[in-house]
Each structure stands twice: as C-alpha cells, then as structure tokens.
Amino acid sequence: MAVGTETASAESLSSELPQRQHRTLWGDVWLRFRRHNLANIGVVVLVLLVIGVLAGPLIYTVDPEYSFIVDDIDSINQPPSVEYPLGTDDLGRDTLARNLFGGRISLAVGVVAMFVSITFGTLVGVLSGFFRRLDNPLMRFTDLMLALPSLPLLLVIIMLFRDSLKALLGPELGIFLLVVLVIGILGWMPTARVVRGSVLSIKEKEFVEAAVSVGTREPAILWQHILPNVLSPIIVSATLGVAAAILTESALSFLGLGFPSNVPTWGRLLFENKDFITQNPWLVIWPGLFISLTILSINFIGDGLRDALDPRQRR
C-alpha cells in the first residue's frame, strides 16, 4: 500500500528526533480496533474456528464418510465420548470429522461469495458514482435487483441449474460454483449503494478538485484518489458479507437445496440431523453452534471495524 511505504520512510527520517511516535492510517485503525472488546473476542474465536477447520482434518484423520457400524454395531448415535469426541450420527459416522470438513466448505462458500458480491458491488457503485451518465440506469438496475425476493429466487435458480452444472463440472465443484455465484449475484446491491454514496461525496472534495486542476487523468483520479477513500465502507461490507453468505448457504442447505449429501456443510448437517433431534440432540447442536459462533464473531468484527474505520471518531 502506497500509504504504508511513504510513512515507513517518514518514520526512519524522524526516528532520530525526540518526537511523539509517528502514527499511520492503518496503525490508527488497529489501535481503535484493539479498544473494541467484543471485536477482539470475535477475532480470537474466528481465528480458532478457521485454524480448526483448516488444520483439524490434518490432525484428526478420521474419514467423515466412514461408518463405524462396520467395526461396532453400537456405534450409531453416540453422545460425545473419548472415542468419538463429538459423538456419532445415525449412520455411525464421526461427528467431529464431519463438522470439520463441513466448516471448510461453509467458510469457503462465505469467503468466495463475498468476493463475488464485493467485486460486483464495488464496480457498480464506483461506475455509477463516478460517471454521471451511468448513474441513473445502474441505480435503477440496483433497485430492480433489490425488489427481487432473494431467498425464493436462490432456491429456484439452484434447483433449476444444479443438475446441468453437476453434469458439466462434477457434483462438488459444480454446486460450489453455482451456490457461490448465485449468492454473490443476489447480494451485491447494498455494497453498490454504499460505495456509490461514498464516491459521490468524495468526488466533490477539494483534494479531487486539486487533482483535476493539475491535469490528472480520470483513471488515475479514480484509482489513486477515490478508491483508497472508499475502502473503509468496502471493508466493512465485505466482513458482514462473509457472515451473510455463510448464513445464506446454511439456509439453502437446511432447506435441502444446497450441496449434495456426500458434501457435509454445517447447514447440510443440520438438515440431515434435524429428524434425529429426539434421539441424539448433539447432532444438531454442534453444527448450529459452529454456524452461530462464526456469524456472531464476524458480526462483532464488522462492528469493531465500522467504529475503527469511521474517520469522525479519529482523535
């Protein structure tokens, strides 16, 4: 980041002088973020969850699809124990292994879908905020997209296209791409609106006027002067976007319209196990707990980032 290198050289210059410590833009943000207790708890929980699902299957090498009935007929619907840390399901499969693998897919869907929606939302927002001629058509398009009922449409699109994509790209990659793309395409509108608003207000600032007056070309104004200044709303909506995407994917899977049954995601595990709630409540408690913890910690982080990135709070 250009800001970082500039201040780094400034710091080495001023290091001999007995001055107060030099502060950078992102250093300030970090300091303010650290003051936000709930956000810090959120970071810790989220990091633990991410490490858990990434490294977990490498350490805990139990096949999530392996049925322990083969070894022991009594191994179905076990409560948590030393042998099965989180218990087993109705087919004698290990719940911990299934939840670890499910978490990988749920988190991956959240992150990738967020990238799709943020990229698209930023593009639309910047274009309509910066180019007056594009503003009206693009915003009418955004309004139209906002008027579409997203959950029913998601269900319908996934239902209709999943067989052909499955045939085209294989069951896992095909469904993954479909889910991610559809969630992204139906979720970019709030980002576009926020970005457009920021671009509109920054476009009128004096430093942009100064850049124009010294003859800076439009692409350079856009990239160097406007985009860095709309970064904070984009970061906040990206953070909250991950939570929203994970929630949407779980909802789809919970309705039985997400990933196929051999791909366990947290939502899928809830869907599969909800009928066994009387026999073995642990089966729904674990995936539900993981989804809730993930979304809660991401929302805490998002709140903290919003406060930390708000320039009005800068002291």
């Binding site: 139209l144 449409l153 909800k274 009387t278 929302n299």
Partner: protein
C-alpha cells in the same frame, strides 16, 4: 403528495414488468421438462403432444406475452369475481394459471388456501417483535452504557447472528423434547371453535412466533437504539430539557416521536423480508403456509406455482417500499415530495 403518489404508482408498472420478466426468464430458460414427472411408459409422440398442448413449443416472446395476460388480466379478474361474487365476462372460458403438480387446480386458489397460516404466524411474530423491541431500544438508548444497555445490545447482536433454523431446533429440543410444553409440529387442521382449541392454537404457534419474533426483535431493537441515540444530542432536546420539562416528558414527547420515524419505515420495509424468513420457520415447525407451498412446488418442478409465489413475494417488496416512502412523508413534514 398526491402528485408524488401518482408518479410513484406509475413507476411501479415498469418495475413489476421487469421483475416478472426476470422471474419468467429464469424459469423458462432453465433446463428441465414439465413432462419429466409423467410416467416413463408414455410414448414419445404422446409426450410431444402433451408438450404442444401445454404451449411449450411457442417462441419465448409469445410464451411471455401469454403468461403476462394470464397473470395480469385473467387472475385479477377471477380474484375480483371471487371476492365480490359477481360475473365479469365469460369466467369459465378464461385461462387461469394452473398448477402442474396437482393438475388443473388454479395456482391462485392453492395460494389463497395457504395465506391464512402464514399471515397468522408472520403477523403475530412481527407484532411480538415490535412490542418487545421498541421499548428495549428506547431504554437502552436513554441509559446508554448502563448494564441494561450492554446486556440488551449483546442479546440483540446474538439474536441477529444466530440463524432462525438453529434457534428453532434449540427451542424444539428444550420446549418439546425436554419440557414437553409445546407440540413439535404445527397442526394446520386445528379448528378454533372453543376456548380449549384456542389455547391449543396458541400453544402450537408459540415456538414459530418466538423464533421469528426474536430474530426480528433483535434487528428492530438495534435500529431503535441507534435512532434514539441520533436524536438525543440534538439541540431541540436540550431546549426542551432547559425549559424544565421532566425527563420522561422530553423522552416521550420529543425524542421518541422523532426517533420512531425511521423505525416505522423499517417496520414497513421489513414485512416482505419476514415473509421470506417464514419459509425457513415453516420448514422447521412444518407450518403448512406459503413457504411450505413454495418449497414443495420447487421440489415437484411445478413451474407455474413457483413463478406465482415468487412474483407475489416480489409484489410485496415493491408495495411495502412504496408504503414505507409514503409513511415517511406523512410522519416527517421536513420531507417534501416534489
């Protein structure tokens, strides 16, 4: 205001046409064959004839035009006939949108059958949410950073982060399986005729309403609190306090009135969303409502039914956007519609 309303109503027409086009296009361009649900033993020629009789061989614009006529002319006419018991033209000959799943039944009749259950659960949940959330938001804002505020903010963030399908399952686990207070499954056939059945109806609605209401209340309480906090530092509040009004009076007559304007708008805007949210809640508790109808139709590949339900959801969004704008204009005289 009147002129503004007319203009807004006119912009609704292209919006609805665009939405109907999107919904129609998605379903029409998708792979999948309505005759695939029919038995394998039907000969290919016969299958082809069935397809032709259903109008599937027509080009896309023709199909879309015909669907629009069915949807925007025939269906409303039938609805009016049914509502007022009158005859307009030849009602028998008019082509209705019919379901592919349960053959020949007009889609609208199926939907009208399901609306009361959804309305009961959704409406009750929303009422409960408003009654709980607004006072909590107000008190949280007045006593900012108090223990009440911190606990309230924390709980509302939790309520907003935990998905309804998990709270629903947890409630079933706690109140149906362990405590046996409420039935696990919502019985749609229950007729409310006497006191006993009324209590039974309340008992079976308790959990779906609580799940939906809790989620909605979390959002509303957060919003009410921040709206109150926006108004508390205002000059007019200081003036009112300086004039010697009691705090209670200032809060209720001055701050609350102004803070509730955006809250009321949000309440109106949230109604369509809570209908979509009900899709999930209805699945958990097996409420036989609109959401269950949609899920069933999707699984059966019943395209006319899916199109209609999705379009009704879209109409709700457009309608409540308009209502929210109008309410905002009525409540806040500073907003001028020109």
């Amino acid at each position: 205001m009147g002129q503004y309303l007319v203009r807004r109503l006119l912009t609704i027409i292209p919006t609805l046409i665009a939405i109907s086009f999107v919904i129609f296009a998605v379903l029409d361009l998708a792979p999948g064959d309505p005759t695939s649900a029919l038995p394998e033993t039907i000969r290919p020629e016969v299958r082809q004839q069935i397809r032709k009789a259903m109008g599937l061989d027509e080009p896309f614009p023709v199909k879309y035009g015909l669907w629009m006529r069915q949807f925007f002319v025939n269906e409303p006419l039938s609805l009016i006939e049914k509502a007022f018991g009158i005859q307009i033209g030849d009602g028998e000959k008019r082509l209705r949108v019919t379901s592919w799943g349960s053959r020949g039944v007009p889609v609208m009749d199926m939907i009208l059958e399901r609306v009361p259950q959804t309305l009961w659960v959704v409406g009750l949940a929303y009422l409960v949410a408003i009654v709980i959330a607004v006072p909590i938001g107000v008190v949280s804002a007045i006593r900012q950073y108090s223990i009440f505020d911190q606990v309230g903010t924390f709980i509302s963030l939790i309520g907003y982060s935990i998905p309804t399908f998990f709270t629903g399952l947890l409630m079933i686990l706690l109140f149906s399986v362990k405590l046996k207070w409420f039935p696990m499954i919502y019985d749609t056939n229950l007729q409310v005729v006497d006191w006993h059945s009324f209590v039974e109806q309340l008992r079976q609605s308790a959990m779906p309403v609580a799940v939906l209401g809790f989620f909605q209340a979390a959002i509303l309480a957060r919003f009410t609190r921040s709206s109150m906090l926006d108004n508390i530092p205002m000059d007019y509040v200081r003036t009112a306090t300086a004039k010697g009004f009691r705090e209670r009076y200032v809060v209720i007559r001055h701050i609350l009135r102004n803070s509730l304007i955006p809250v009321v708008t949000l309440i109106a805007l949230g109604i369509p969303a809570i209908f979509s949210g009900a899709i999930i809640t209805e699945q958990i508790f097996r409420v036989n409502g609109l959401g269950a109808l949609l899920i069933g139709a999707i699984q059966l590949n019943d395209i006319p039914l899916v199109q209609t339900v999705t379009f009704i959801f879209a109409c709700l969004i457009v309608a409540f956007n308009l209502i929210a704008d109008v309410i905002y204009g009525i409540l806040d005289p500073r907003i001028r519609y020109t």
